[in-house]
Amino acid sequence: MRIASILFSSLLLLAAFGATAQDGEKLFKQNCATCHLASDKALIGPGLAGIEDRAPSREWIVGWVQNPDGMIASGDAYANTIKEFSPTAMTAFGYLEEGDIHAILDYIAHPPAPKEVAVEAAAGPVEGESGSLDENTLRNVLLAIAGLLLVLVVILSSVRKSLTSLLSEKTGETAPEELGAWGSITNWLNMNRGWTGVILLVATLAFLRWGVIELMEIGVYQGYKPEQPIAFSHKIHAGQNGINCVYCHTSAEKGKTAGIPSLNVCMNCHSYVSEGPSGTVEIAKIYAALDYNPETKVYGDSPKAIEWVRVHNLPDLAYFNHSQHVVVGKIECQKCHGAVEEMGVAEQHSPLTMGWCVDCHRTTSVQVANNEYYEDLHERTPAWHDGNPVTVERIGGLECAKCHY
């Protein structure tokens, strides 16, 4: 309901200001956004929300944007007041037409509503709610049916018992010996040996199968999706903003771990972007960790590390090196990590079992060409000259001590 109303109101807004606001947004992003936010937060220059209430007039603003130095030199009182805001003087945008500036001001006055994504991201790391609800309902329904059937069995057996006793009373025969619930079950089992065998066999097989499946799952955390201290969304960063994986995970090309970016990497962007689609709360956690004051842009001296929850936990006994796979093997990150750019909350896509590793090593060809190391090795290994692809397996990628030492 809430989503619908927001969508509806934004549609209304779009209808009203459609053309100019679109242009205004584009122009704003191209020309102003480096130094100004459309909100009331200051960046390099002051936040522009409510500018028309502060400045003498729209005409004044047009003049200022086109030639701020001229306005100051002319001795304009307001121009000389706002120049005190920062030692960095504002650049003159002489090429902006009056109409362009009006479009920008319209955009600032009536920014379009945030898009739908924002709402989802704001909801934070909730594990697929709807799916689990369905499963729960189904289970509850099944349990209820089973309960009803059990009640029915009890009622029917008591009815049968009273009917039998009535019958025996009538006929005057001695009532058959009272067996009780357990007795009747064992009695039935004794009577139907064949069925008993079948039931036992099925039960045993089912139990074994269940056991094997459960055992194989031990230590496999495919789909592990822990809640993180910051509701970081790969969908926004890697998906919508198209940031390259190795921009943040720099050591994927250098070392064994892909690495979680240090906070100075976050601050490359977030010293400017203090507000995301979900608001300021999550980004403020970065500032809090760094003891950074976004208003004064000053770092304090009591920073605290952020303790992320590790998603991919390879056991210590296995040596895995990202750079081997990313740089030498030229494997896409997504091959093992899945479509991270679509994940609101990072999750373990692959099982990370040894069988999974080895399967890939069996089928993946080594990129021999254009790598002198492999070319030399290829030359020295006559066995590889049989025309079949040189898989990782053939260079020893299935050997124990290639990963375990």
Partner: protein, 1065 residues
């Protein structure tokens, strides 16, 4: 030409006692745990009853099952601001400097995620050429020593720096005003900046400040002699690489000697017979030292005879070169000395004479011999001398007298521990009590620090900035590789602070280096560039010429001044162990567990005695399997010490040896009460003189490793020859192992060996056909490597990692053993477990004794079997020694692989035998089937924090920081062994793959090869035809250990060549 010498590992094998026979048959030493446990008197005192045990067992099974189902939550904590040069998982190396008062080493420190984990040599250094020894590469563990002081202390109680600074500052100021005596007692200081800081301190507190240098391992005699002869209070720098003839009188110049590791580099170069030239090494000594065990001619003499022998040598050299002879010099070792003199004169300018004597007179005569031989300026550099020793004994004696007279107002001690290492410690302690202000900069509350008012703990050197000038004009820098772990402060910074100078020591060094910069040929460089280049390289060599001075020693006066050593039934000569040094690192378990190169004993020091003296005095020669040594009491003057007696073939009859560095009482849990303190009988000199030895009723458990892991008894274990034979035939001493092949067997063989691989090289099936051809020509004996029982691996393809071990160059120092332990997280098991034969070292150095008597000689001379062995026993008084490092041989037909029921040990396509810990179920079949006995079993969880293995560094959080994160810490119940440092191979391959180039030769180094100062161990790719190791493998001296077993190892040994002449000494 070959000789079948007889080698023995110990007297038990020589005499072939029933116990030895039994233990050689057994895989493990019989003193195993079950019986030991059951015999234990404490068995009933345990608090855990059987029922409780079962309860706990049930509970833990249940708990483990439940725990296994839970998702472990691991945290990943990134840097707040990542330093640019750090990538998690990628090691960084920083150049630094190690100096402990004896050994100087320019080093590279390997750090991971900001913690130092390993130390290797820095090949940029012209002083050390990248040499390190076991004390240097073990020093990284001393950083993570929980016995270090956590904060400054006042009267033994933890305090704060503010308090301590204030109180000491006030006390010093008061003394300074009153002109009182303030003494700085330090070890040798080679840091120019530290010397400047001391001078600044002296200026601040006036005339009363005095700096006294005290070396526990004193070279006072040499310093005084050099002062008299050359006007230089320093030691000459030796160039053993240019020395054709080396004559040493008791000096263990490759182990306990100042700059020993660096000497080993040059010495090793001259032990390579390639080109037909080797050095000749004469050693005159009483204890079997490491240098002596490598000597070509070793003459056992008594310590009291040393001075006369040196004078005799001087006279002989003087006669031959036209110098003045001096009186005396009647030595009973005439023939050996004449031979040495003859060869010395024949190698004028290319020889070295060296002595361990701490008598200035003796050292003057040694200088005179070197001078007559023209060695100064060629093999001995006194123009640019070594500054690694500066302590003059008489100054220390004077200081103690002053202290006892109450003349000393303040005593500040850095790097010294006289309450432990000074002979007359009681006098020192009583003097210390009379000093008003006592300050120690020790890193822990050691023997001396326990008696001082203030302990101001110094940083570990890996936490410090410093500079060094070990040799005139050669500088190096020390840089911190980790933040101080405790509330410690550098000694120099404390001094500066108390001098009223608040600059950091780093800035202080930089300002001091401005002078070095200005005077250097790089003066045109910007200072920052100059300093950072030096820091990056670790070293900086000024191009200045040294000051050449003429020899001005008075030989006659010197000969007259020599103090006579007392003689008696037994003479005691102290010595320095290659592993332990002066004992300052006694709390380092890697060093404690490192077997002594000669005795192979761990965790102890002991009286070394000649076996025949042991018989005469009723001591057990430890030929039984229980290794219980009799304890003897030795007394010198009024000092009595009790120590176990251990047989040392080669020990001069009538002499005993005892190592210093043991018997610490305040070193820490690991080093306390290990062995006895031999410093207590040293009065200025290690040549103690006459002592009385009396047997006591006590016995002492010895943990030695030589009898462990005895190779299966076949012939070709250690091969050796002499230089002359080698020159005549490079394959001398290295005949191919022959096997009898019947023609029927050969036919049967034919069905094997034609494997499906395409990679046959010259060791492939082609040879089998040769073998059959040879065998069918009537000679049924064929070379062992030509017979094959198995299908070959494709050993000619791709990489084949291999190793060569040159027995000629191996000096037995043990740097490889500690290097391997550091790289591969090898656990320390402690004395009790070593006694049970459960030492975990992946690499052992077998020490063999042998003598002149050979099977051939016995046959030729018609010596009967019994007489032959009698002759050998007699020769045991004067054995030759050989060292043989044995690690996993990485067999191409590995016997261990075929018996593993779970395929936990398998073969790699790169020639290695792989061990997969997580597959291993601990049947130990592989260890049983290994002919080399190189597999080690984890009997216990050495890292579980239990008291039993508290000595293992992986047992506490601090010690765990030394572990190499790229190598798994093995669990209980699994087998482990040398992996050829596969983590390094993989890393180097990855580096090459990423750069798109081949792996360069010597790019991949196993930890042992990296640590070896003499390059005896060479590692590389055998399939890379141009590699060093491939060249060595093709050398005529190369052979496989137990070649006749046919397991085709990837480790090659090279015949030991001795530069001996038949029928000498």
């Amino acid at each position: 030409m070959s000789k079948t010498k007889i080698y023995w590992t110990g007297l038990d094998q020589l005499h072939n006692t029933p116990e030895f026979q039994e233990s050689a048959e057994n895989e493990f030493t019989p003193a195993t745990s079950a019986e030991h446990l059951l015999e234990s008197e404490n068995l009933d005192e345990g608090t855990t009853k059987r029922r409780d045990f079962l309860k706990f067992l049930g509970f833990s099974v249940g708990a483990a099952t439940l725990a296994a189902c839970e998702t472990p939550v691991n945290k990943a904590i990134p840097y707040l601001n990542k330093p640019e040069e750090i990538t998690p998982g990628v090691p960084n190396y920083y150049a630094s400097t190690f100096f402990d008062g004896t050994d100087y080493a320019s080093i590279l420190v390997k750090t991971r995620e900001g913690r130092p984990i390993k130390i290797v040599g820095n090949k940029n250094s012209k002083v050390t050429s990248g040499a390190i020894n076991s004390r240097v590469n073990s020093s990284v563990l001393s950083l993570y020593d929980s016995a270090r002081a956590g904060s400054p202390m006042k009267a033994g109680e933890a305090s704060e720096w503010e308090t301590v600074d204030k109180e000491i500052g006030e006390a010093l100021a008061k003394l300074g005003e009153a002109g009182g005596s303030i003494v700085l007692l330090t070890e040798t200081i080679i840091s120019p900046s530290a010397k400047k800081a001391i001078a600044e301190f002296a200026t601040k507190y006036g005339e009363g400040v005095k700096h006294v240098t005290y070396d526990a391992l004193s070279a006072s005699g040499s310093l005084e002699a050099n002062q008299a002869c050359f006007g230089v209070k320093a030691l000459p720098a030796y160039d053993f690489a240019s020395a054709d003839v080396v004559v040493s009188f008791g000096a263990d110049f490759i182990a306990g000697f100042p700059n020993g590791a660096a000497n080993a580099v040059g010495y090793g170069k001259m032990r390579d017979p390639k080109g037909g030239k080797m050095s000749r090494h004469f050693q005159f000594e009483s204890n079997m030292s490491l240098a002596g065990s490598n000597a070509d001619v070793r003459v056992a003499i008594k310590p009291s005879e040393s001075a006369e022998a040196i004078i005799s040598l001087y006279n002989k050299v003087a006669k031959a070169t036209g110098g003045n002879t001096v009186g005396g010099g009647n030595s009973e070792y005439e023939s050996a000395l004449s031979q040495a003199a003859k060869e010395l004169v024949g190698a004028k300018g290319k020889s070295i004479v060296v002595s361990n004597s701490n008598d200035a007179g003796v050292q003057t005569i040694v200088n005179a011999i070197n001078n007559l031989l023209g060695n100064y300026g060629s093999t001995l550099d006194i123009a640019k001398p070594l500054y690694v020793k500066a302590g003059i004994d008489s100054e220390m004696t004077q200081l103690i007298a002053d202290m006892n007279a109450g003349k000393v107002g303040a005593l500040l001690m850095h790097g010294v521990n006289p309450s432990y290492s000074y002979g007359d410690a009681a006098a020192f302690n009583s003097g210390l009590a009379k000093v008003g202000l006592t300050v120690s900069f020790a890193d822990r509350l050691d023997e001396t620090a326990a008696g001082v008012a203030y302990l101001c703990p110094d940083n570990h050197y890996l936490e410090s900035w410093n500079d060094s000038e070990p040799k005139a004009g050669s500088y190096s820098l020390t840089q911190p590789t980790i933040q101080p772990l405790f509330k410690t402060r550098q000694f120099q910074e404390s001094l500066l602070k108390w001098s009223g100078n608040d600059t950091s020591y780093y800035n202080y060094i930089q300002s001091n280096w401005a002078g070095i910069h200005a005077a250097s040929s790089n003066a045109s460089m910007l200072f920052n560039d100059f300093f950072n280049t030096a820091l990056f390289n670790g070293v900086f060599d000024a191009s200045s010429e040294g000051v050449v001075t003429e020899f001005a020693g008075d030989v006659n006066a010197a000969a007259g001044s020599i103090k006579k050593s007392t003689t008696g039934d037994f003479e005691l000569e102290l010595y320095v162990k290659a592993g332990m040094g002066d004992g300052s690192q006694a709390n380092n378990p890697w060093l404690q567990e490192l077997p002594d190169p000669i005795s192979r004993v761990t965790w102890d020091n002991y009286i070394m005695m000649s076996p025949s003296d042991m018989i005469a005095n009723g001591f057990s020669r430890l030929e039984r399997g229980d290794f219980m040594a009799n304890v003897a009491e030795i007394s010198v003057n009024d000092v009595k010490i009790k120590a176990p007696v251990y047989p040392s073939p080669g020990q001069k009859k009538g002499t005993i040896g005892l190592a210093v560095g043991y018997g610490r009482t305040a070193a820490g849990a690991c080093g306390n009460e290990v062995g006895v303190n031999a410093f207590s009988v040293a009065h200025g000199s290690f040549t103690v003189g006459a002592v009385t030895v009396s047997k006591t009723d006590e016995t002492h458990e010895i943990a030695q490793t030589q009898s462990h892991h005895t190779l299966m008894g076949r012939s070709a274990i250690l091969k050796e020859t002499t230089l002359s034979e080698y020159k005549a035939d490079p394959k001398a001493g290295n005949p191919d192992a022959l096997l009898y092949v019947s023609s029927a067997g050969a036919k049967k063989e034919e069905s094997h060996g034609h494997g499906d691989d395409h990679g046959h090289d010259d060791e492939g099936h082609g040879h089998e056909e040769d073998a059959h051809a040879e065998a069918s020509h009537g000679n049924p004996y064929v070379a062992a490597n030509k017979v094959n029982l198995w299908d070959d691996h494709a050993i000619g393809s791709g990489h084949r990692w291999g190793m060569s071990v040159d027995l000629s160059k191996c000096i037995g120092c043990g740097a490889c053993v500690t290097g391997c332990g550091s790289e591969n997280n090898v656990p320390v098991v402690g004395k009790e477990e070593v006694r049970r034969g459960r030492d975990m070292h992946w690499l052992r150095i077998d020490r063999y004794y042998t003598s002149d008597m050979t099977e051939e000689k016995a046959k030729a001379e018609g010596v009967g079997a019994i007489d032959k062995f009698t002759a050998m026993e007699a020769a045991a008084e004067q054995p030759q020694v050989a060292f043989q490092p044995v690690m996993c041989q990485h067999c191409n037909h590995a016997p261990c692989e075929t018996v593993c029921p779970v395929a936990a040990t398998t073969h790699s396509n790169e020639g290695m035998n792989m061990m997969t810990y997580n597959r291993c179920i601990g049947t130990r079949y592989c260890a049983n089937n290994c002919p080399y006995k190189v597999r080690r079993f984890n009997w216990f969880q050495y890292h579980n924090g239990s008291q039993d293995f508290s000595k293992n560094p992986a047992n506490d959080d601090l010690g765990r920081m030394v572990l190499n994160p790229d190598v798994v810490v093995r669990d209980r119940g699994v087998m482990e062994k040398c992996s050829f440092c596969i983590q390094g191979i993989q890393a180097a391959k990855l580096k090459a793959k990423k750069a798109g180039r081949k792996v360069a030769d010597e790019e991949v180094q196993s930890a042992c090869a990296e640590a070896c100062p003499t390059n005896a161990i060479v590692f590389g790719d055998l399939n890379d035809k141009d590699s060093w190791v491939a060249g060595n493998a093709k050398d005529e001296r190369s052979y496989h250990l137990l070649e006749e077993v046919g397991v085709q190892p990837n480790v090659y040994y090279m015949t030991k060549v001795r530069n001996v002449v038949e029928n000498e000494a």
